[in-house]
């Protein structure tokens, strides 16, 4: 019982230790492999809990409680971790020039282990501790490439997390402590009991603090400003885990700590749902005009988290109302959780595809890419599957969960929730637009520039296809996961071949069979007949760079973006506020730092930006205090061997005299 979780943590620890192998390649490969084993063990644990029911145990004296809800998130971490780690075995080679395999090994394994702990621990203090470990290890991974732009992104990420995650979480921990009165009793059960009799404002403060922390981690508007650069900077396999799993951990916090622990009201639910609706709109429309593959995916992570929060918000708003509405609420919450799993799968898959392209071409800029479909067939197909899944095209998994979110929103009889669903349905088209661009610019057409590009190594392909295959599998047979996912007891109708709510049903199996029969039937009865081959029609130009004969990534939807320009201007303003706040916080940090740090080569340089700290050789305050002593010891080391007895006697006499003199004066 619970053994699998222990095995997993053990594997992660060994994975971290394996980083100390000297050779870079060997160390990243071995540690990624152990991370893979650990993630598989997590999946074993999920199966175990699914079969045997929730279990309580303690590992290294950490109280663990794997509930049905934890299990959903362990499943997410397990799936994403498995695919990303398998992929990383080859992918991490491209960072060889940093030469710091051990940093990756420790940080990556810690990252996975801390996430597994966050969703399973049964006590507030360990929750906060694992959470901080997760933030710290992900921060280290973000600056792993050590490029200036990436380091800046990682610092911004860390400072944002400090102010919006660490501080609120510790304050919440303090609140919890003041409620239960002892550090030994910070288990969630005790806090729940104490909260039940706590005054309303305590509850509001506690829930508010936690909400800020979880919103910041999930990238919910207005705290979305750190996401794009962070995911761009991190190694792609890590971005996949961050977008696929880390964001979902914030959702776990929302469900378990805010909803289950503090409780929910209609107002709170509506607030969460509206935040979700705003986030999905802002995130996705920003993604639409992005031309860097990883930033595009990052903005979509924001957008898709919006969908998930909308679903959970519908649940939080309607379940307290009871009756038929509670059923719709449960459906919404279920759909949100389902979308969390689906998003984890297709978003990691997309990140892995972007990484595969980066691995072979060295860039993720959509403006430069093109024509890879011919050379990287399997990567292209995986990217196509995942793109259709995120765009919610049936029969892929994204369709089912989005559709259930629409059903719950539209049938909620509540204008605000219906409006949220309306935005969600509209934004689904924007998602499609964005992924038509994502796929088309990278894999569509033919480009001479990339004619020698080859498919990526087997482990990377397998990593992508575990996820891309799941988008189709879950899309066609949603019944495979609904058992694990239905922690809200939503009255969904699901069988082997249909899923739905009330009379609103969809039968993916029937649809796929119909579509496949039609496609194959039509194909075979009207087989394509090709006559001659010809170059694409270019109106007879004589000198044309064929690589440029296409529409560039920026030009795809430019007219649309111009027409909704006022939306961007409005949201940019919000963005600027967030950015501005972080800039001032950085300034405050630097101001404090200027009292503790000195730049050595040019002593009177003012520290104004982070770059100042990075460029010069710096001396920290503690070093400065100890420096005289160190200098004395150094001199002593140089001088001592040369000392004669006479000199020693003289020094001894002086010391004794000084001591006596001091004693006399006293």
């Amino acid at each position: 019982m619970g053994m699998f979780l222990e095995y997993a943590l053990g594997a992660f620890i060994i994975g971290g230790l394996l980083g100390f192998i000297k050779d870079y390649k060997a160390s990243v490969k071995a540690s990624s492999f152990m991370a893979l084993i650990g993630s598989l063990a997590l999946l074993g644990e999920v199966y175990n809990v699914y079969i045997n029911g929730p279990e309580k145990l303690s590992i290294y004296r950490i109280p663990i409680n794997i509930t049905a809800t934890s299990n959903v998130f362990l499943l997410i971490i397990g799936i994403v971790g498995t695919a990303a780690s398998l992929y990383a075995i080859s992918y991490m080679d491209i960072f060889e020039r940093t030469g710091k395999g051990w940093v990756y090994a420790i940080a990556y394994n810690t990252f996975l282990a801390s996430m597994a702990l966050v969703v399973t621990v049964n006590s507030m203090e360990y929750f906060v501790m694992s959470w901080e470990l997760m933030t710290l290890s992900s921060f280290i991974l973000v600056f792993f490439s050590e490029k200036t732009r990436d380091v800046n992104a990682s610092v911004k990420y860390y400072i944002t997390m400090h102010f919006l995650d660490t501080i609120p979480l510790f304050l919440a921990l303090g609140t919890a402590y003041s409620l239960v009165g002892s550090f030994d009793k910070l288990g969630f059960d005790n806090i729940a009991t104490a909260l039940a009799s706590a005054p309303a404002h305590t509850k509001i403060v506690f829930a508010g603090l936690l909400l800020i922390a979880f919103m910041a981690k999930a990238g919910i508007v207005p705290f979305q400003f750190w996401v794009a650069e962070t995911y761009r900077a991190a190694p792609t396999s890590v971005s996949a885990v961050m977008a696929g799993a880390m964001e979902k951990v914030a959702l776990y916090g929302l469900i378990v700590l805010v909803w289950k622990l503090v409780g929910t009201t209609y107002i709170l639910g509506i607030a969460i749902a509206l935040l979700g609706a705003i986030t999905l709109t802002v995130g996705t429309l920003y993604a639409l005009r992005e031309t860097n593959a990883k930033r595009l995916l990052a903005y979509h992570s924001i957008g898709q988290m919006g969908y998930i929060w909308l679903g959970i918000g519908i649940g939080m708003a309607l379940i307290p109302k009871g009756g038929a509405l509670a059923a719709i609420g449960a459906l919404g919450a279920f759909a949100g959780l389902f979308h969390a799993l689906n998003h984890a799968i297709f978003k990691s898959s997309l990140f892995l595809s972007a990484g595969a392209v980066e691995y072979r071409t060295g860039t993720v800029e959509l403006e430069e890419l093109g024509g890879l479909g011919k050379h990287m067939k399997w990567t292209a197909l995986a990217a196509l599957f995942a793109s259709l899944a995120i765009a919610g095209v049936p029969p892929f998994n994204g369709f089912i969960s989005k559709w259930l979110i629409y059903v719950s929103g539209y049938q909620s009889k509540d204008f605000l929730l219906a409006f949220g669903a309306l935005l969600a349905a509209f934004i689904s088209a924007a998602t499609l637009a964005s992924f038509v661009k994502f796929y088309g610019t990278q894999f569509g057409g033919d480009m001479k520039k990339y004619k020698d590009v080859k498919e990526v190594p087997g482990t990377m392909l397998l990593g992508q296809w575990i996820l891309a295959g799941l988008t189709l599998l879950i899309g066609v047979f949603p019944g495979t996961v609904t058992g694990v996912l239905n922690v809200f007891n939503a009255p969904i109708k699901d069988g082997l071949y249909r899923i739905g709510f009330g009379s609103v049903l969809f039968s993916p199996v029937l649809f796929v069979v119909l579509l496949a029969v039609l496609i194959l039937g039509l194909y075979l009865s009207f087989k394509p007949e090709y006559g001659k081959e010809a170059k694409p029609w270019d109106c007879g130009t004589t000198s044309l760079n064929e690589d440029e004969y296409r529409i560039n990534a920026e030009g795809y939807y430019i007219k649309y973006e111009e027409k909704i320009g006022s939306f961007y201007r409005f949201s940019d303003w919000f963005y600027m506020v967030g950015e501005g706040v972080i800039r001032y916080i950085v300034k405050a940090y630097l101001w404090i730092a200027s009292y503790f740090v000195k730049i050595v080569d040019t002593p009177y340089t003012k520290i104004e930006t982070l770059d100042d700290l990075r460029k010069g050789q710096v001396l920290n305050a503690d070093e400065e205090v100890l420096k005289p002593l160190i200098r004395f010891l150094r001199i002593a080391c140089d001088v001592l061997p040369g000392i004669r007895l006479g000199t020693f006697v003289v020094i001894a006499l002086i010391v004794v005299g000084a001591v006596i003199g001091i004693l006399m004066t006293l």
Binding site: L422, F426, G440, F506, F526, P536, Y549, K563
Partner: protein, 306 residues
């Protein structure tokens, strides 16, 4: 057993209508357009003849992409699947999810196939056409989302069967019908919204590189898609007000009504097409954005019970 035969009959009628009627409808439209311009016009079978000819011709191959070859078949299969999800009389030929969202997503798959097909070739014109197609969808989808909202609130469900059974007449519903007619007209890509294909401008857009049989398959898919959208509109317009359709005779009458209305709507569409010139993409975006805000007001009206 007898009932099954009746059902089978309706299924068969539905399938025949789906497969045979759409090119005829286009023939009607061409004739009407010609007459409006004081021309004699081609025979009603002309679109069928065109398709027949295209199917007989081999295609020119501009790329080795597999997607390029398969996309037309995916588009045609999606269009037929969507059309099979509509009621013919009281029978839905293949009920894999008789609700609004599923229907519109399956219809959308025709455009998805079209766009990916356009992007699979290295040709700026077809890329441009695909991007335009997407921008039109981007502006139409919010209107359809409004429609989901009004109908789901009005009838209490997104299931088309429930909507047909429970819809009640309100001012917001009438406005929704108008909005729906507009949205479906735009989504069908009739003039002045034929921006994606825009023959004279971007030489056929996503279809620029298609020829011969593959082009024929695509055209056929587009005709069926237009038919499915119109049939959906006609069904939604008539079925809720006809009371329960419980006898085969009644169902046959309803099917006849659907058929006649579909055929008689086409001249109106043709007249609109003949009297309008193609809009620019930014005009369409602007118009549809306004229509969306109007739609949100309609949704608010629906929730206030109007």
């Amino acid at each position: 057993m007898a009932l099954d035969i009746v059902k089978l009959g309706f299924n068969l009628a539905g399938i025949l209508i789906i497969l045979l009627l759409p090119p005829y409808l286009d023939g009607i439209a061409r004739r009407v357009k010609a007459r409006l311009q004081y021309r004699r016009g081609p025979p009603l079978m002309q679109t069928w003849y065109d398709l027949q000819k295209l199917f007989a011709l081999p295609s020119v191959r501009p790329t080795k992409s597999t997607l390029f070859t398969w996309a037309p078949y995916i588009a045609l299969a999606s269009a037929i699947s969507a059309a099979l999800l509509l009621p013919y009389g009281n029978v839905v030929p293949v009920d894999f999810g008789f609700n609004l969202v599923v229907f519109f997503y399956v219809i959308l798959m025709v455009s998805v196939a079209l766009m990916f097909a356009g992007l699979s070739v290295q040709n700026a014109f077809s890329h441009l056409g695909s991007a335009r197609e997407m921008q039109i969808i981007l502006t139409v989808e919010p209107l359809i989302a409004v429609l989901y909202g009004v109908l789901a609130y009005n009838a209490g469900s997104l299931s088309i069967a429930d909507i047909i059974a429970n819809l009640h007449l309100t001012p917001s519903l009438i406005l929704t019908y108008i909005l729906l007619a507009y949205a479906l007209y735009v989504e069908s890509g009739f003039v002045p919204f034929d921006i994606a294909e825009a023959e004279q401008e971007v030489i056929g857009g996503p279809l620029a590189e298609y020829s011969g049989r593959l082009l024929g398959v695509f055209y056929y898919a587009i005709h069926i898609k237009r038919f499915a959208l119109l049939w959906f509109f006609v069904s939604l317009l008539t079925l809720p007000w006809l009371g329960p359709i419980d006898t085969p005779e009644r169902a046959a009458l309803v099917l006849a009504l659907q058929f006649i209305l579909t055929v008689s709507f086409y001249p109106i569409i043709a007249a609109l097409e003949a009297t309008n010139a193609r809009l620019r993409i930014d005009h369409v975006v602007k118009m549809n954005t306004r229509a969306f805000f109007a739609g949100v007001i309609i949704l608010a009206m629906a929730f206030m019970g109007w």
